[in-house]
């Protein structure tokens, strides 16, 4: 990843993100992974925003007489053990899932970038202390850190979101640290220092814009990981709580009915897979685009 950034022409000074230029957009859309992954992500965002208009039924409405109806023309995805329309719940679930992913990645990214930049830029003992700690936390599986935090914060969607966000900080910190180390001794930063720019200005106006491409890649791939962790926590009953239509918790509450009504298992699971897959494909695509070395390998 770092190689790609090194060999790409660098904007000097407060450069725009490399994705911003129009020609870049055209190149991006010619990449099938970006096109496919991006379209699905866009579709998911639309579904989430338009949920109240798209959902045929109230996702919370319990109807005893309509329990466990197999998919029909009225109930395309069938109904669950409380007679709720699964399609409507899956649609509303997109909203929850994207929200959770966004907040978790936001927490991880902001804290990780702060730690990684500080460590890479300051060097010396600051770097030694910060990165030693981050390296240790990095060896823990994310889900264990998240589980440990939820254990003490208490089970709820908000706490699961915070816990997942904190659990991925080491990942973003390490990536940022790696990229900052590459950038730190480049002429544009030294030039900035010579003309007397403050550290704050150098970091925010010059360094950060140059590491943004790498951050876009890791955040897109990280979005998938965050969605998976959050769904797992909800499945375990530690995240979203009933009756919220979160996909993981839908699977958990329907799991006793799966032999009789397998559609309860099928649709929320497919929703998770499609979401995670879309962000994975998009992330791989953006990485191809920004990393010429990788691109040569793929073609």
């Amino acid at each position: 990843m770092t190689d790609g950034i090194e060999t790409t022409p660098q904007p000097i000074g407060p450069g725009e993100s490399e994705l911003a230029a129009p020609s870049r957009w055209r190149t991006a859309l010619r990449n099938p992974r970006i096109l496919i992954g991006g379209s699905i992500v866009l579709l998911l965002v639309l579904v989430a925003i338009l949920a109240p208009y798209l959902a045929p039924f109230d996702p919370y409405k319990i109807a005893v007489g309509k329990r466990l109806i197999a998919p029909t023309a009225t109930y395309l995805f069938g109904t669950d053990e409380f007679g709720r329309d699964i399609l409507s719940r899956v649609i509303y679930g997109a909203k929850l899932t994207l929200y959770v992913g966004f907040v978790a990645v936001g927490i991880g990214l902001l804290s990780g970038v702060a730690i990684g930049t500080l460590a890479g830029y300051a060097g010396g003992w600051v770097q030694a202390v910060l990165m030693r700690g981050i390296d240790f936390l990095y060896t823990f599986p994310d889900i264990l850190i998240a589980l440990g935090l939820v254990a003490f914060l208490g089970p709820s969607l908000t706490n699961a979101m915070i816990a997942v966000g904190i659990s991925v900080i080491p990942y973003y910190a390490r990536v940022t640290y790696g990229v900052v180390l590459v950038e730190r001794h480049k002429p544009y930063l030294e030039a900035g220092q010579v003309i007397g720019a403050s550290h704050w200005r150098l970091i925010t106006r010059h360094l950060i814009p140059n590491i943004i491409p790498a951050l876009i890649v890791v955040s897109t791939l990280g979005f998938s990981a965050a969605v998976l962790s959050a769904a797992a926590l909800s499945y375990l009953g530690l995240g979203s709580q009933p009756p919220d239509p979160e996909w993981g918790s839908m699977l958990a509450s329907g799991r006793n009915y799966i032999t009789r009504s397998p559609w309860i298992l099928l649709f929320p699971g497919m929703a998770i897979i499609v979401t995670v897959l879309a962000f994975n494909i998009l992330g791989d695509g953006i990485r191809d685009l920004l990393d010429p070395r990788q691109r040569r390998e793929v073609r």
């Binding site: 599986p141 994310d142 264990l144 254990a151 003490f152 914060l153 797992a232 799966i258 897979i273 494909i281």
Partner: protein, 307 residues
């Protein structure tokens, strides 16, 4: 070398010591009074009982004494007692640890047996349709949540075909959780192996070996094998770490009686001493794995020497 091992062990001890302090402080992350949260499960608790629990956990002491108290007890092998039934936490944990390790090892075996050859082959045939198909499969594989795959397998095998018992204690009930975890992580192994092998195949010495006309089998065996082993060790170690995290989730899908189930029960009952013990056991397992990887590197790669 000996010097390096000693220093590495020293770092490990310091790391575990720091983790113990962190874990002892974790109870203060609890919003509100942790003792009241724990006792909320037990409506009949009298104020005396509550004070007794508070005292037993050392939570009536100043913060620095609490930490000392906790670290001191851990050093003596005392992980405290469960709030419920007052069993020793150490006993609870070490009764379940073998089950989790058995699951993790079997899954790792499955994941490696499937993932390594596929990743290797994909890298070797890089850019061909085989590679493309395999990598589409792998990205799909890493996108499937393990608990969902587990439920699907459960549905098909235990309930429809009635081949395997759903939940009992014997080795057959290990099969489904191990296949679930193994399949999930084989996709990760395939992806990691592919990119590691692509790097190996791009090395100058591989090109030189081919250029001087060595048969491909010799190029692979004599020149590509050893550097790939280093990558493979790294991949296996990283995946083993992920895997024990994934095991916590999958154990609960299959009611496999391991640490993950113990931890989930403890979390839902707010049995904080058990949760603290669980985190420390995992920290120890992870520290041991990382020492083993470092030593494996020295053994495999003559360029790495530690003084």
């Amino acid at each position: 070398m000996l010097n390096y091992v000693i220093r590495r062990l020293f770092v490990a001890v310091v790391t575990l010591f720091a983790s113990t302090i962190a874990v002892s402080l974790l109870i203060h992350v609890v919003p509100g009074d942790p003792v009241m949260m724990m006792m909320a499960q037990n409506a009949a608790a009298t104020p005396e009982q509550i004070e007794k629990v508070r005292h037993a956990l050392g939570l009536d002491l100043p913060l620095w004494q609490q930490t000392l108290h906790y670290v001191g007890n851990i050093l003596q092998g005392d992980f405290g007692r469960s709030i419920f039934g007052s069993e020793s936490v150490a006993r609870l944990l070490f009764d379940r640890l073998p089950n989790t390790l058995a699951l993790a090892f079997c899954s790792l075996l499955i994941a490696v047996v499937i993932g390594l050859p596929l990743g290797f082959f994909s890298a070797y045939r890089q850019g061909t349709w085989v590679d493309n198909v395999l990598m589409v499969g792998a990205v799909l594989g890493v996108s499937i949540p393990s608990f969902w795959l587990g439920l699907i397998l459960l549905l098909f095998f235990s309930l429809t075909l009635e081949l395997l018992p759903v939940a009992s204690g014997d080795y057959r009930s290990l099969a489904l959780p191990a296949i679930t975890l193994g399949a999930t992580y084989s996709a990760i192994i395939a992806r990691m192996t592919r990119s590691a092998m692509i790097e190996v195949f791009a090395e100058d010495y591989i090109r030189t070996a081919r250029a001087k006309g060595l048969p491909e089998s010799i190029v692979l065996r004599r020149h590509a094998l050893k550097p790939s082993l280093i990558a493979v060790v790294t991949i296996i170690a990283i995946v083993f770490g992920y895997l024990i995290g994934g095991a916590v989730v999958v154990e609960n899908v299959f009611s496999w009686n391991g640490l993950g189930r113990l931890a989930l029960d403890a979390i839902l009952r707010r049995d904080y001493p058990v949760i603290q013990g669980f985190i420390l056991v995992f920290a120890t397992v992870i520290v041991i794995i990382s020492i083993m990887i470092d030593l494996a590197y020295v053994w495999l790669d003559p360029r790495i020497t530690y003084k």
